[in-house]
Assembly symmetry: C2
């Protein structure tokens, strides 16, 4: 049994999308149990329309909901202790739930998650990891916007956490990790990225295989299993890729509607087009994972539909079943422990540069 706490009021469509999404995920994973937090009159009627889900769920009423445009500070001030978002996170802290899923606003969800769950012992800053569809399958990209800027040590921590997530999600033993940069040569890029590269190369971690620098066009190719960036450039890469995919879909739609022949061709090839749509479907890879906190929180796209929200729950399910937190804690302890013992190359480097 895996229990998911759900902020039923989050997202652009609220419970109308979230409850049916949970029902879909339950069909795939019958061992799931749910705790829904939200406004009773809005959530319960929809829940009652899904008897199987209703049987697998608890409901907790909350008066307050965080709005999609609330600033993080505002959300904390007005929603701490009592909003559906806060309560859903708190259920993970108390152990009632194994994972929290919300389609609410990212800034508020991160602020509340940090406040409620706190960062892990060795971690200064959490990261948001996205699942990125590639020509080879899927990669993990982090940080896509939890915090702006990261020093070399934080980039290394992101690498360790991202690799743990890759082992939990795509089940590779020693995931390849690349640092996002503007060139592949060792002399290129921001100083933090170059130093992180040196640290990773010297660390000889057994839990990841450090590949070197990767560039923006390696993301879609799936050159590595895990791509690490600080939050500003990671977020820009993510949004740029989403925007480019939308742009090309728009070109394709316009081109296919322009002439009779094109429309006929489209009809004949519609199986192929639906495969393509499938490949490009952002709902399939919905679910950003907050890494570095004492608990698992999954952020669903705010504008997604029931299928997309179900995918975010599926990600949470995989993370719990494959023991993401234990993996991260073990890897970080191993890494930071070695550093504390003075065996760790990070010390040499910081002495050199200090």
């Amino acid at each position: 049994m895996i229990t998911v706490s759900i902020d039923a009021m989050g997202g652009d469509h609220g419970p109308a999308v979230i409850v049916p999404g949970a029902a879909k995920s339950l069909e795939r994973h019958p061992e799931l149990r749910f705790i829904f937090f939200g406004q009773e009159d809005k959530v319960v009627p929809i829940l009652e329309r899904h008897p199987r889900l209703n049987d697998a769920s608890k409901f907790v009423h909350c008066d307050v909901s965080v709005r999609m445009d609330d600033k993080p500070s505002q959300a904390l001030r007005q929603g701490r202790w009592k909003s559906s978002m806060w309560k859903a996170i708190e259920a993970v802290k108390s152990g009632e739930a194994d994972v929290c899923v919300s389609a609410g606003n990212t800034g508020a969800l991160m602020a509340m998650s940090k406040f409620c769950l706190r960062t892990m012992a060795d971690i200064e800053r959490p990261a948001i990891a996205a699942i990125w569809p590639t020509l080879r399958g899927e990669s993990i990209v982090l940080d896509v916007g939890a915090t702006i800027g990261a020093d070399a040590q934080q980039l290394v921590d992101f690498s360790v956490m991202g690799a743990a997530m890759a082992r939990a999600l795509i089940e590779v033993k020693q995931p390849t990790v690349g640092l996002l940069n503007v060139g592949v040569e060792e002399i290129k890029g921001q100083e933090e990225v170059r130093e992180a590269g040196r640290l990773l190369r010297q660390s000889n971690l057994t839990t990841l295989d450090y590949h070197g620098f990767v560039e923006g066009d390696d993301l879609g190719q799936g050159t590595v299993d895990v791509v690490v960036a600080e939050g500003f450039s990671g977020n820009i890469a993510l949004k740029t890729a989403e925007g480019t995919a939308k742009q090309i879909a728009e070109y394709l739609r316009a081109a296919m509607g322009r002439t009779m022949m094109a429309r006929l061709g489209y009809l004949l090839a519609r199986g192929a087009f639906s495969q393509l749509r499938d490949k490009m479907d952002p709902r399939k890879v919905n679910g950003g994972v907050f890494l570095g906190l004492n608990g698992i929180v999954i952020k669903s796209h705010g504008g997604t539909d029931a299928e997309g929200f179900a995918a975010a729950i599926d990600v949470g399910y995989d993370m719990v079943r494959n023991q993401l937190l234990v993996k991260i804690e073990t890897d970080l302890k191993y890494f930071h422990g070695r550093r504390a013992n003075g065996k760790e190359p990070a010390l040499e480097v910081s002495e050199q540069s200090g």
Copy 2:
């Protein structure tokens, strides 16, 4: 008459692509004249196969060529004063040519251009501006990798220069300018970007219309005419968009070949597909413009074909014909002049933050 100096040895394919590319551009713009710099035995035989181009061209032999994998420092050491790349840039400095076009390696071309042409009086750092295909037409995005990091004043200078280029290239009177950020609210993002936003908002420039922050997905939408970023995130955005386009083209190709019906549909719709290919064709928007130097240098993609190289020459032609340098100098003088007179809001802000 507009004279283009050409590094005939640059790019993955050298003169075999560059000379036919120039011939194509000459067909479109008969008033062009060319000076080719390169190895005589490699360039002249190809030039002689294009009689009309040959008549419109001068050739200058150079023993040394910069290699595609030379580091900038290496290229400067070995190629200064004598390589085909240097000589092509120098022709702009001496006034023999109006613009230099090279498909050689970006780092070397920028290093030599800076060394030979120097930056404009008010400019600390040059930028590379890319032409970005959007759903609304074309936008200009800079800096896509000339230098890493930029302070607020440099981002404002990029905005002024990018707007001048937009007026030269897409011929809008008061181009809209956006700063690339991780959110559209004023409180979001890197401090440099936020301060640049404040400066632009207060400056009331008549040569550009400051729109505010834009995100990665605004690039493909064409939300603004000019998108300004520092070189690290700008480069990552550019490469990520290129990679995503390649990835989707690969999905499409695979999907269309999978079944008989899909192949038949593809045949019927091939007009539409060729339109789509056209829209996605990176050769059509080939030509990064170096901004902020005392001369115009255009960087073509190294791997492009003759059509792509011709497009890069076309960009250079437009920049000269529409007086890019005069536009930039006037705008910068206006902006920096106001600042020097103490009327400029930049001073107030730096006092506040200092």
